[in-house]
């Protein structure tokens, strides 16, 4: 089947799915959870085949770990579905209601975006998570997973399609793509696909952004900063920087560049170095930093680099303004934090740093949909429109305007024989 045909079918299904009520969608989600449990042996067997093949193909150990989909991960996925069922239906909510004139009423009502294209890496749990978030928000989805997980993905997609078909959803609300050629073809389907969510490396996300007219939601990189102010609690600063940098180094909200106020540097830097040395973090710094602690020199390139590793770049700054300027120049608008006891400075930092997540006296690692309590996450966005920061169910939603009249024509308002009342009304869309 051509991508054109497939995408059109998925689009057609999206129109049906958009009309599905909360009960039907939750029923379908429950059926998915049941089916995943009932067919767990088949799923795990498919995953074992992927693992065997990938081991033979010498896939790196961390990637093998991500690829593994065992009983524990399956249970996590099922738990995730049950928590999704518990969330409020994001579709059909009246956001605004206005009487335009007697008998003429305007409503803004939430609805699904339509068709989402998601491209994700090796973890097969992502397939379950993303497709169920799409279902709950009423969106159809085209999914492309990592080729190393192809047997697992095929099995999971089949189980989900079958379960939702039995529950009464249109068959084509979910489609699984398998090849890179499919992805290239999908990126051209701007007439059928409304949003692309790429999850993966910086280069991969950049490639997607540069090769499609379809809007893209996600983040290419996460060059996250912490600024240690001269009014910081030094012990707290050591603790927060250590957590931000080392709690999990290979993720987008890990710290990459540390900015330190010149006045606190002589006290703070040696204490920080002692702590980070224990974790074997490689440090590079600006000349002033290197004059305080014995570390290698950083280059201009370091300020633009997301290490995703046990490495940290350090720069001394003259104060808050300097720190904010550095972040807005080199950062990626992802997550940045200030450590200070001064409330006023914290307020300014959070106002002027142009990032999706700004933190005061806590770890950058908190910027995450689950930690934020969203219950479900499709990814983190560094875009400036639609959705920013961790994106939950709400990010999969848009709205339409619905106007109910009784034969009202514009000519009567143009010739001033009638006037708009524009009164807010406290009413849900009545149909």
């Amino acid at each position: 089947m051509s991508m054109e045909t497939l995408a059109r079918q998925v689009k057609e299904a999206s129109i049906q799915l958009a009309g599905a009520g909360a009960e039907l969608k939750n029923h379908a989600l429950a059926r998915i959870a049941e089916a995943l449990l009932a067919r767990k042996d088949e799923i795990i067997k498919a995953n074992e085949a992927d693992l065997r093949r990938s081991e033979q193909e010498k896939l790196a150990a961390p990637l093998l770990k991500r690829l593994k989909f065992d009983e524990a991960k399956l249970q996590d996925a099922i738990d995730g579905i049950h928590s999704l069922i518990g969330l409020e239906n994001p579709v059909g909510k009246t956001m605004l209601a206005t009487e335009l004139d007697e008998g003429l009423e305007l409503y803004r009502v939430t609805c699904p975006i339509g068709v989402i294209g998601v491209i994700f890496e090796s973890r097969p749990d992502a397939l379950v998570q993303i497709s169920t978030i799409c279902l709950k928000s009423g969106n159809s989805v085209l999914l492309k997973g990592g080729s190393e997980a192809r047997e697992t993905n095929r099995m999971l997609a089949e189980v989900i399609r079958q379960a939702t078909l039995e529950a009464g959803l249109p068959a084509n609300w979910l489609a699984l793509l398998e090849t890179r050629e499919d992805v290239s073809a999908m990126l051209k389907m701007d007439c059928y696909i409304d949003l692309i969510i790429p999850r993966g490396s910086n280069e991969f996300v950049q490639y997607i952004m540069n090769n499609s007219k379809i809007p893209v939601m996600g983040h290419a990189d996460g060059i996250c900063h912490a600024y240690v102010d001269d009014e910081a609690d030094v012990a707290m600063a050591v603790r927060l920087v250590t957590d931000s940098k080392t709690q999990y180094v290979s993720v987008c909200n890990a710290l990459e560049t540390l900015l330190v106020h010149e006045r606190v540097a002589p006290e703070f830097l040696p204490r920080l170095k002692a702590e980070l040395d224990k974790k074997q973090v490689e440090l590079v710094g600006c000349p002033k930093t290197c004059s305080i602690i014995p570390i290698a020199a950083a280059t201009e390139e370091d300020w633009k680099t997301e290490y995703l590793d046990y490495k940290l770049a350090i720069r001394l700054v003259a104060g808050l303004e300097d720190a904010v300027r550095h972040i807005n120049t080199y950062g990626s608008g992802h997550t940045d934090s200030i450590i200070t006891k001064n409330r006023e400075k914290a307020a300014q930092f959070m106002e002027y740093v142009d990032s999706g997540n700004v933190m005061w006296n806590c770890s950058t690692r908190f910027s995450d949909g689950f930690r934020y309590g969203f219950g479900a996450e499709v990814g983190i966005s560094t875009s400036k429109i639609h959705a920013r920061g961790p994106v939950g169910l709400e990010g999969m939603i848009i709205y339409k305007y619905k106007v109910i009249g009784n034969g009202h024509i514009v000519e009567e308002y143009a010739n001033r024989s009638r006037r708009f009342t524009h009164k807010k009304i406290n009413k849900d869309f009545p149909l």
Copy 2:
């Protein structure tokens, strides 16, 4: 100055402007209104120069009319500014507040998008309207108007910049571009510009969408439909179709294709034709339509055409489902209406038609920011993300997450020595 330098300056100003409070922004708006009045002679003189040159260059009469910026239009622009001052500040609103744990609080707070690039046609009033909407929403703006209005635009931009500089805003929050080369260069500034709003012809908007990585908000075309159901009040249907088609033919929310239920067609079509004949509307129709009223045959191309003229394509359909399918296939997701007495059918139509504006028993011409009571409009969007339908101040706004902690680290939640509470709190962001 290079576009790179200019765009960077505007970006830098946007960081300052984002921090401006309601009072400062309203003060600056009031200063603009005063300055426009105080310098009205200079402005009108500049406009007269544009009019003279454009007349010599044989600009068409309707365009000359749009280009004219006289005392009445200036007063409208000033009135628009005063109504903008009266609107609530859309920036700094707390949309969500959650206690993540004791002493660890998450806030979602509205903020400006950043830097907006706007490209608009001949009307100089658009410059005042767009720049003041950007100011109120805290966004910097790069503006490119029609070259026929260049003297007027220069004068207006100068008056606005001067007035806002005196009010205390950063000088570079507004920049005026003058050449097509400037526009091409601007479309490449995805590192500084967050959103492009093009206003103009279908081809022009398509060109912008195809030539920039920056997100684009707007609409290329408006192929709007009305569906006259077999349960329609025929007199009302004649009245609504006539208004939708003829009240103002050259706008995006005017009717272009009429769908008629087969059962009502023999009664309805002759009455409609009699009415539209009075307004000299050219009709084309499907074979079944042509067997009822003597009009020319429509081609496949007609269903895809936005006439923006006294012309209407008519197609008979077997019922609601058929009508919805036609609209979702050929429409542009702009504005579509159903005319019926059947509430259930209206509900279905409004649910399944995938357009930004769906109407029941009223004219398509109502889909407009001013008629909707938004007080200000930057344009109408047929995009499926961020903002849809008429876009007012809210469409110029995004949010950031702000997290306040007291030394909280993620490691304690990872090793389960602490647990998230995720309690909704009823509090505005406190800084």
